[in-house]
Symmetry: C3
Subunit: 336 residues, 3 copies
């Protein structure tokens, strides 16, 4: 992952009144875990991570706990396996585990012991998958984004109905897609809810106020970042409306969460902030909305979910494409 590290908070004990080594290490680890939460939106920021954590606890204490423990397990596994120190410190080994644990809680039921044990196992495996994806995409100088989490999350949720101790939802979810029906004109309040829910759905949460808290976390990291994210959300919603998506799907954030991530990735994180890249990023954000509907239909017969696959695939294509267009390439953070 080549997440930007410019806003990197300082780590560890301050010079005066040095705390004991054990405490310093624990603090450093805690900082890496919080940064891991913030890296879901490309921020290596302890403060943003703390706000994100609060947002998830606001959605439900179980979700906050799964996310926190998951990030910790992923970060610890990477350290144990001897992964690159810098990646661990800046949270790059934590955010895929954060999303993995959270997705298990949401889709398999947070209350089951089986889910908790599986989530820990998933966070160990996703660390290996992250290392693999970094190797594989490194050939093209592309970042791994949330691809490791998408792989583990899709595998687990598609496999789950095959295991009776894991699946507690009765019948499997596999079905053929049907054409969309229902009203396509969202009311203003639905548009407003959808705008914030786009942020919450990055973490699978449908509540608009969770999204508002997450946006607050982005604002802490920087106004420009927050503005780009807001534009992404707006473009996602506008595209969905123009294409005639059901209003309910716009209101619950399903249609726009990938657009937020695509906009951030293509304007500010992996490509420099410019008028050209902003346009490019917003075309990408619009594209992600269509890609999302396609992947939803592709996964439906197997009972799978789209997670952030639309973001990953759209961003990989637009980043690879950008290398051929001199007007876009520039001083973006290189992939690692």
């Amino acid at each position: 992952m080549g997440h930007a590290t410019d806003a990197l908070d300082t780590e560890g004990p301050t010079a005066a009144g040095e705390p004991p080594v054990g405490l310093a290490r624990a603090r450093g680890f805690a900082a890496a875990v919080l940064r891991g939460q913030a890296q879901v939106t490309f921020l290596p920021s302890v403060a943003a991570g703390a706000v994100f954590c609060a947002a998830l606890f606001a959605a439900g204490w179980r979700y906050g706990l799964y996310a926190l423990v998951g990030t910790a397990v992923g970060t610890a596994t990477a350290r144990l396996l001897g992964a690159d120190r810098d990646r661990v410190t800046t949270g790059l080994e934590g955010f895929n585990a954060c999303l993995t644990a959270l997705c298990f809680a949401v889709f398999l039921g947070a209350d089951h012991l089986s889910t908790a044990l599986l989530a820990i196992g998933g966070c160990v495996v996703v660390t290996v998958v992250t290392a693999a994806v970094v190797q594989l995409l490194g050939v093209w100088g592309l970042p791994s984004l949330t691809l490791p989490y998408c792989l583990v999350a899709s595998t687990t949720t598609i496999a789950a109905p095959g295991f009776e101790r894991v699946w507690h939802h009765g019948e499997a979810l596999a079905s053929l897609t049907r054409a969309a029906t229902g009203p396509t004109a969202p009311r203003p309040v639905e548009l407003a809810k959808g705008f914030f829910a786009d942020f919450a759905q990055i973490f699978f949460m449908p509540q608009w106020y969770v999204g508002a808290l997450l946006l607050a976390g982005l604002l802490i990291a920087g106004r420009r970042t927050a503005a780009v994210a807001c534009l992404g959300s707006a473009v996602g919603i506008a595209t969905a409306w123009a294409l005639g998506a059901p209003a309910a799907q716009i209101a619950d954030g399903t249609m726009g969460y990938n657009s937020v991530l695509v906009a951030l990735a293509l304007c500010g994180v992996f490509l420099p902030v410019r008028a050209a890249t902003l346009t490019y990023a917003l075309v990408g954000a619009a594209t992600a909305t269509a890609v999302g509907a396609a992947l939803s239909a592709l996964f439906a017969p197997s009972g799978g979910h789209t997670f952030t696959w639309p973001f990953v695939l759209t961003t990989v294509v637009f980043l690879a494409g950008a290398k051929s267009f001199p007007r876009l390439a520039g001083s973006g953070a290189p992939a690692a």
Copy 2:
């Protein structure tokens, strides 16, 4: 794309009686657009492009128009984004857009304003996707073929039923594949129709006379090229018949259009013309027929189409494999 450029027509104004710069540019752009149409079958030829254009107008003026405007939008977008000048001039930035626009017209309905607007958007996005695929496959020295178009076409047609303003066909197409039934012995007239329809289906057209016109375009580009394409069509039909495909699918060209493209790609375009490569190409053409049936069953539950995926996948595998076989490798055009 490493399409052969040996038959490259001269571009722009002739020395005597120089036309004004604007007119020269328009002429150059028109030539690039026509070459873009011809590049669907790997020909950087203005004349072949003009014949192809006529064939599509013969199938229906809307189809001709979509193809022409689509190629123009793709070519213009590539120029705007600063893509490699040579690629634009030889039509390599046009043929994926040509197929994208045409596929939107055929599968979403050419008469709807939504289709026209989407087609323009699709031609912009496919230019970005082309740049990405060139980067990604460039690692192996492989050409991008029609992969960019396949990605955009599959995404859009699978996503379409999810959007009420885009989808005008009632229920979605998702279904489980059933075993083939019906007569498997095509009558001679069906075989003859199928032979020509194989060419027409490259552009989604089922009419044999459209295919005959396209074959005429190939003949203009060279007799050897046309002969290889005819062999590909014949092998595709023979394979489908031997395996027991329904006669109706042979007659409408569904079973053989990928074989035409595979034969061209593996004997003359990316590998040199020799007895060994011709054999190799015809094994590839036969393989593509089976790959086509598999992809058809794979896409069915999501409501997708096979487009030229069988051609792309078969050709990529056979080209990558050829690098290990000294008897096949040689002076084929390198990928770019």
Copy 3:
């Protein structure tokens, strides 16, 4: 493929009483074919290959014959196309053909002439696919494993119902996955049968005694290899039991055959034998069980089978990941 060649048997005539050249060549070819059978479990051993061959004849003479002829066709095709001599001699060009021919016999019906002809064609094509996969994965220094066979087997079995002369099973197999039901507590005899069946299912056979014979072949190649394989089988079964897989699927080997291959690949073949890699390999073996269930649900709507896709995907990810973890990397056989 970077299969270990340390146990390589000597080839060709012995010094005393030299046989005629033709006989020596035939012997060399026969040795390459037997090694090709043994390479299914990464062993370049004539003796192990002979035992494997006996095990398949024990399952049914048709299966033994398909496997033997298939390996021979693949090996001969590779030699004809001028593939690397070392790869041919050590059986690396034979094992994908062995599995391809066998899979055709099992899934299309061994008694049909169409199956026999298709199997020969499949063994020719899989040789090309092997060369392609070696090129494509070579960029990352990854081995091709059984990916070529998986590609050909999936394509053919998914395509088969579309061809009336090929498909003799009535209706196609496409269906939506349902949640697992039935008892999840295997009896001791089921566990024991499953332990051996895990070996047999590598070759699609459900009989425990076929698996026992295959394990005997592994023992001939080395006790350590056999021990790792047994651990893989046990971990696969334990994982399936812990997750609540139906007991019947544990007993017939469906749940554990990929774990056997993953354990072998990650501890001894591509990574060195150590405590750390053994742990890593067993985590991989457990992961493969979940991946297997996911792929089963993914292929179901198209009527496909999982074959050894779970082994291939899990191993590729764990091998790519291992490059980032200094505690795991080491003197494993490099990929070729």
